[in-house]
Symmetry: C2
Subunit: 233 residues, 2 copies
């Protein structure tokens, strides 16, 4: 049985090698959620009951402390999976999930996932690869938080966006509050960091960013990988 | 074929349910490394060629920036696995691995692991669960880094050690430089944080710690889980 979302699932890099029939079956068991912006899909502390695939939109994975402070641990772009680790752990959600823009999400019930993981080694292998990728994303973030100043983190973030867009002029993908939380700083710190980066050729007008001197910014912010030559003009 | 390290592998929580024959085969293909303290097992940026199981000792997973600053992303205690995500990603090691004490490590060649993952769905499932646990460890760390002050992080760390020891008097498990890096602060910040925690009943003499008032410390540091009743005396 084919399904509208089979191709979306196969857009997950790790799912490209999984048998199309299996992916179709997985997609067919999913329930589609069409969510407006700022919808809480689940709360931190709740019991996981589904594994999700983000088809369209943007999802913020959020954390909060017991005194009510909150942050964005990560932002997901389509196509990606989430809630898998929580579901498999048998514990509670360590993070909440909230839509940052109108989003379409495919939710696959825990029982279905568990049955299919038992039946198809190739699917399990794909999930393992996907989980490894998410783990490595957090390794990069922990290193970013521990080894760089907040201004360097913003610099690296802008360089990554520039690489992604293959352009030195681009727009921020979500609002500055989310960017501040994603980068582990306050909104005030983010404003100061943008101001400090002017000396490295970073021009901002609202959400519009222009990098005048990528090499100089990279020499200051020290991104993990060399900035692509095409972005350096 | 049974093996000296089969039982160690089965001490990994996720491996308890894997067929003993499979675990024995995996253990039998491993090479044992007996390493003195401060031995670099592999460097950040190198190509992964093995998946490792820590049998005895302590391993620091380290990160460094291109200007030579370094940090400890995480510290592993036996029995645990590492280097799996790097190996499966096809990329380079995002972290180095260094022994913090004399350690015994079982290294399983990439080719063996890949073959066995292809053959045994139960093993793959165990690896997925293990990777999920590691992912969640980093989620907790990112939340800790973003939502707490460095002094609160130290407070939570001491409360966790107290829980682990079921005692309010215990010794720090590794030296203060490593603790500072693990908690994302400088050595000087750590000293200041210890001094600040005196007001919450934290007594230190070298590596010896005594918590005089667990409830008061918890009210200040706000750990994720309620501190176990037995630790509160």
């Amino acid at each position: 049985m084919s399904n509208l979302y089979t191709e979306h699932l196969r857009a997950l890099p790790e799912f490209a090698s999984v048998d199309a029939t299996i992916v179709s079956r997985l997609a067919a068991t999913g329930e589609v959620f069409e969510l407006p912006a700022d919808t809480v899909l689940y709360e931190q502390g709740s019991t996981p009951d589904r594994f999700y695939i983000l088809i369209e939109g943007k999802i913020g994975l959020t954390g909060r402390s017991s005194d009510g402070r909150s942050t964005v641990v990560d932002v997901l772009m389509p196509v990606d999976q989430f809630a898998l680790a929580a579901l498999l752990s048998g514990g509670e959600h360590l993070m909440g999930a909230v839509t940052l823009t109108p989003s379409r999400v495919l939710g696959i019930p825990a029982a279905t996932l568990n049955r299919m993981l038992g039946e198809d080694p190739c699917l399990t292998r794909a999930m393992l690869a996907s989980m490894s990728r998410h783990y490595r994303t957090l390794v990069r973030q922990v290193k970013d938080l521990k080894l760089r100043t907040s201004t360097q983190r913003l610099g690296c973030y802008l360089l990554a966006l520039s690489d992604e867009h293959h352009a030195t002029s681009f727009r921020l993908p979500y609002d500055k509050r989310i960017i501040a939380e994603r980068l582990g700083m306050t909104r005030e710190n983010l404003s100061r960091a943008f101001a400090a980066l002017r000396a490295y050729g970073v021009e901002t007008r609202g959400a519009a960013i222009k990098l005048d001197n990528v090499a100089r910014l990279a020499a200051y912010a020290l991104p993990d990988r060399p900035v692509a030559a095409e972005a350096a003009e």
